[in-house]
Amino acid sequence: MSIGHTLLGLLESGPRHGYDLKRAFDERFGHDRPLHYGQVYSTMSRLLRNGLVEVDGVEAGGGPERKRYAITEAGITDVERWLSQPEKPEPYLQSTLYTKVVLALLTGRGAAELLDVQRAEHLRLMRELTRRKKDGDLADQLICDHALFHLEADLRWLELTAARLDRLAEEIRR
């Protein structure tokens, strides 16, 4: 995820302090990976250097960082460009799972067992996400669904590979 663009996007609704930005980010996007303060301040320094934000005011007192940041016109253009560009789909062509299956077959280890263990692990995580979805709000449900659909795709691949294991073993040993 581009933290810079996300923080810029959050600034579009109005100027904020670094601490407010971190809190807004964590609330919306950082459920599983909250930002470190260091990340926020280093990102804001970079955005400031590049003219995408400006210091809107400095408050005296308390904490170490009391700057309030505002997005600039260049920053708004940058967010707009980022949102309008499609993300490059992950090609998934270098799969660790595939490598493990082939190596298991090449070395005479149990590839079917490997697939079973992986299926159980995927399903364990899917259960966890399904439980989390139940108690979550719509945003949390959508985040979990995104992960669940990817895990489901992996599981379908595991099933397909399990069904073709004998043929794959033959081809590899040829």
Binding site: A120, R127, A163
Partner: protein, 227 residues
């Protein structure tokens, strides 16, 4: 885990003509747990469910339910057990088209001898719980697939069964409806303490279970207890 299984199958064989469907299948179900039975099409998972529920008699092996040997019970006794202790949800065609939804849900109670008024009151309560109270007076042909499955779940739960057998219960539903049905089914079974045997080929459906077993080529690949 030391809890004795409520339902235990050992060494189940079942063939349809020359085709083996189950080969030495083992399965165990504890009271109140939700177990997904997964596997590719034709792997034997539905046959396993039918054997466990006493619908199909296996060629070999034993199935014990709550200390009773299911495989040696006469047909009438197995039918009575199915009516009193088991509930069923299938993918298609399980509601009686001539009856209203309330009458459909009340049907298992009526078959067990309960009076109409009391049976229909319970049916209405379950329809409300499954969020389809507004279709009570309609016939199955007049409601959507998602509503029909909720009515079917209500009918499976109305007798307070100890085990619910669900065979691809969301197979004919879109993703959102399927998930809602699974949520309602598992919430209701956990509230009432009913165990669920859930046959599915969909991982997202299986994710509502406590653990899964995989049937492949007629044998159960993983039947360990949940941790």
């Amino acid at each position: 885990m030391t809890t004795a299984p409520l339902l235990l199958a050992s060494g189940i064989d079942k063939a349809y003509g020359p085709t083996p469907a189950l080969v030495g299948a083992d399965f165990a179900l504890r009271a109140g747990e939700v177990v997904a039975v997964m596997g590719p099409s034709g792997s034997g998972k539905s046959t396993l469910l039918h054997c466990l529920a006493g619908i199909v008699r296996p060629d070999a092996g034993t199935i014990t339910y709550d200390g009773r040997e299911l495989t040696s019970l006469p047909d009438a006794a197995r039918s009575a057990l199915r009516r009193s202790d088991f509930g069923f949800v299938f993918q298609f065609g399980q509601l009686v088209p001539e009856l209203t939804c309330v009458e459909n849900v009340a049907l298992p109670l009526r078959l067990n001898g309960e009076r109409r008024r009391s049976a229909e009151l319970k049916a209405e309560e379950w329809l409300t719980r499954l969020e389809v109270e507004d279709v009570g007076g309609k016939r199955p042909g007049e409601i959507s697939g998602g509503q029909g499955q909720r009515v079917a779940v209500a009918r499976a739960l109305v007798t307070a069964p100890r085990v619910i057998f669900a065979d691809e219960p969301t197979g004919a539903l879109d993703s959102l409806n399927g998930e809602r049905v699974m949520q309602l089914l598992t919430d209701a079974s956990r509230d009432t303490g009913a165990a669920v045997v859930l046959v599915t080929h969909e991982a997202r459906v299986a994710a509502y279970s406590d653990r899964e077993v995989v049937v492949r080529d007629g044998s159960v690949r993983s039947s360990e207890w949940a941790v």
